[in-house]
């Protein structure tokens, strides 16, 4: 028994199993993270052999950087709209594709597939669709809304981003909701049917409360993914037209690598990390309270 052995042999046993992972985790996550925090206090430009400690100057700059907060606000808007849409669409897909529809496995697979395509490829494909396919359809049929490229107009480009995001993530979240729906106890549903509850009544008072754990997971996942969106942003709109769709990750990246201001970029990354960590933790904490026992 483990507890009967001495401290050293227990440590050895633990290190045997967790050691390699611990080492990998420490070297690729913890150390770079701490080193990154160190860099936020310097004015390093990414290449020079020397850099000076500047204290909290970079953080002061972050607070004053209007463009950073503008892109953060834009990202927040994007996150709220896309998290809501992703989850509503995913839940509806899951609900209808679990109701015994003919060929439902085929449809499930179909809706899941966009998630298998990498964000970069997906961005390029949709860029082609928005700026070529839709435009030529619009010009041939005279539908005004497709007459010019969506990606050339600030508002439409923003919604183009949301459409592609929903298309990409809804299938993935659908899979989680399908699993959640399967876990709703059959006896409760059966009892409800015998009592004569309508489908809507069953959905509202039985299925939805019982699926809160699925919602927590899905909202958490979609929050985190949409907050950190970069690949889609880069390939679909490149932040354009005229930087109107530049999300916060892209701004941070450009600060560090394009403006050659590594210290400030790193400080903005850390601020972003804290904000996103805070928001997602709050979400999980508060939605946990909604959970019910079957």
């Amino acid at each position: 028994m483990i507890s009967e052995k001495g401290l050293w042999s227990r440590l050895r046993l633990r290190l045997l199993f967790t050691g390699p992972t611990l080492f990998a985790f420490a070297t690729v996550m913890i150390v770079p993270f701490l080193y990154g925090i160190y860099l936020t206090f310097t004015n390093w430009d990414g290449i020079s052999t020397t850099s000076t400690m500047v204290g909290f100057e970079n953080y002061a700059y972050v607070l004053k950087d209007a463009v950073f907060w503008k892109s953060f606000y834009l990202t927040l808007k994007y996150v709220i709209i896309s998290v809501a849409l992703v989850n509503v669409v995913a839940f509806l897909l899951a609900y209808f594709l679990s109701s015994g529809l003919k060929g439902q496995s085929f449809f499930r697979a179909g809706f899941f597939i966009p998630n298998l395509v990498g964000g970069i490829v997906l961005g390029f494909v949709w860029q082609f669709i928005f700026s070529n396919v839709l435009v030529s359809i619009g010009q041939k049929t005279g539908i005004a809304v497709f007459g010019t490229s969506w990606l050339a107009d600030p508002d439409k480009a923003f919604f183009a981003l949301i459409i592609v995001t929903v298309w990409q993530y809804a299938g993935y979240m659908m899979v989680i909701y399908v699993a959640g729906l399967m876990n709703v106890p059959k006896d409760i549903m059966e009892a409800a049917s015998i009592d004569g509850a309508t489908a809507f009544r069953k959905l509202r008072t039985m299925i939805l409360p019982l699926m809160v754990p699925s919602f927590i997971v899905c909202v958490f996942l979609s929050l985190q993914r949409t907050f950190m969106v970069y690949d889609l942003n880069l390939t679909l709109t490149k932040g354009g037209p005229f930087k109107s769709t530049e999300m916060v990750s892209m701004h941070v990246y450009e600060k560090a690598f394009l403006s050659r201001d590594y210290g400030v970029g790193q400080a903005e990354a850390l601020v972003l990390f804290l904000l996103v960590a805070g928001i997602t933790l709050l979400q999980v904490y508060f939605s946990k309270k909604l959970e019910v026992e079957a």
């Binding site: 420490a26 080193y35 037209p241 690598f257 394009l258």
Partner: protein, 447 residues
């Protein structure tokens, strides 16, 4: 419970050890002299074989460079040169700094002019090289710091209005003479003539780098033929004492831009265009003119319908043909080669220097530069004539002394930030006062 606590303590100390050793290792490897010795151990210099690498950031000549490496090996059998491409979409600075951060820089790195200064602590002083006496005047000014030149000028690139002669011949009903376009008025008349002949006048490509790294800098460089005045203008911009809205050159350039907007075939949705569309419509003769540079030739030639008859027109900034800028096109050394001094052995450094000399002085090297890679060289001793029409056109402007120095050392984020302002103006989402204000605001934030 107690032992669990001590386990936690052990875990924390383990993490600390990892952190401390990792940071220590990093700091220890920075001094340049100690690392050259350790670099020597892992390259097989004992056998006389030297292996060097070149980080290529000019994607369009990747295969030509690989062939050049083979030709170089025929001349110098003991040197193996490997060409490493910068991945598409990554900047040379980003890739090179990542390689330095990983302690494995390439022996030769191809950088953009403005980036060289950042690397100057880590690269070799090339002031004593033979080719320094044959370089084109001024070609190393921007890479000279404290009297030492740190980079090899690889290629001269130029830009302006590229015209398709077949389309323009038809428009002016005769043989088009580029020397007739020296004023904004003449340019506008030409646009109208092209349109009258049933073709689109020009295409304005809306990429931020094209608008803000190429077009707008004409307003800076065009201030004066005297470089000191231009430098002073940039200093004043940074200091916030320039009022662009009353600046003659800026306004003249933007007047020309207004005319370009007016005759742009993408006028309906000016930001929807892509780079790829430019060479296609120009090459196929659907437009007569495209604002771009000689690097676009490979793409244009794949659509060519004018049997290779293309050339450059200057971008006029006023209606006085004698004004500076109205007869000049913008050109400068765009790509530079620098040699690493931190991780390369003396043998590798010597081999890299040999490669640079080979390009300038050996027949095969010159053949690669001019005939294979279509590069306009920055060396006076090379007499080979370039084959492609755009390089030829630049050559003609250079030999005629009709060159305006490109602003190739602008701040690194200039094209991106000011490019967004230019796009706004192009799309009609901002007027000229807003544009001038945004450009001035950008410059005051430059460190």
């Amino acid at each position: 419970m107690k032992s669990w606590k001590s386990l936690q303590a052990l875990f924390v100390s383990l993490v600390m050890v990892i952190v401390v050793t990792a940071c220590g290792g990093n700091a220890g490897s920075t001094p340049a002299d100690s690392s050259t010795a350790e670099g020597g151990a892992n390259s097989g210099s004992a056998s006389g074989e030297v292996k060097i690498t070149l980080l290529n950031s000019k994607g369009e000549i990747q295969t030509q460079l690989e062939d050049a490496a083979k030709a170089f090996k025929e001349d110098y059998p003991t040197i193996t040169l490997e060409i490493v491409p910068v991945p598409a979409g990554q900047s040379p600075f980003e890739k090179a700094s990542a390689l330095y951060a990983a302690n494995s820089p390439s022996t030769i790195t191809m950088l953009d002019t403005g980036d060289v200064e950042k690397f100057k602590d880590r690269i070799l002083d090339l002031s004593g090289e033979k080719w320094m006496s044959d370089k084109v005047d001024g070609s190393t000014d921007l890479t000279t710091f404290d009297g030492k030149n740190y980079a090899f000028p690889l290629s001269i690139e130029g830009y302006g209005f590229i015209y398709n002669k077949a389309v323009l011949d038809k428009a002016v009903s005769g043989s088009f003479d580029p020397a007739t376009i020296t004023t904004t008025q003449a340019l506008e008349d030409l646009f109208k003539k092209i349109e009258a002949s049933g073709t689109g006048a020009l295409i304005v490509s809306p990429m931020d780098w094209s608008l803000a790294a190429h077009y707008l800098p004409l307003a800076y460089a065009g201030q004066s033929a005297d470089k000191a005045v231009v430098n002073q203008f940039i200093t004043d911009l940074k200091g916030g004492s320039v009022d662009l809205s009353t600046n003659k050159v800026f306004n003249g350039l933007m007047d020309t831009f207004d005319i370009m907007k007016e005759h742009n075939i993408d006028k309906a949705s000016p930001l929807a265009g892509t780079y790829e569309k430019g060479p296609e419509v120009l090459g196929k003769g659907e437009v007569g003119i495209w604002f771009q540079g000689n690097w676009a030739w490979p793409q244009i030639s794949s659509f060519d319908t004018a049997s290779g008859a293309y050339g450059f027109l200057p971008v006029p900034i006023s209606n006085n043909p004698d004004d500076f800028g109205n007869t000049q096109i913008s050109a400068a050394v765009s790509k530079r080669l620098v040699l690493d001094k931190e991780k390369s052995t003396p043998e590798q450094q010597a081999a890299a220097k040999t490669f640079l000399e080979w390009m300038v002085y050996k027949e095969k090297g010159q053949d690669f530069l001019i005939n294979k890679a279509n590069i306009v060289p920055a060396f006076k001793n090379i007499t080979l004539e370039p084959q492609d029409p755009l390089a030829k056109s630049i050559g003609a402007y250079i030999s005629g002394g009709k060159i305006e120095e490109s602003m190739s050392a602008l701040p690194a984020d200039h094209w991106s930030k000011v490019g967004a302002s230019m796009q706004k103006y192009l799309a009609g989402a901002a007027d000229r006062a807003t544009l001038a204000k945004e450009i001035q605001e950008y410059w005051t934030t430059v460190k």
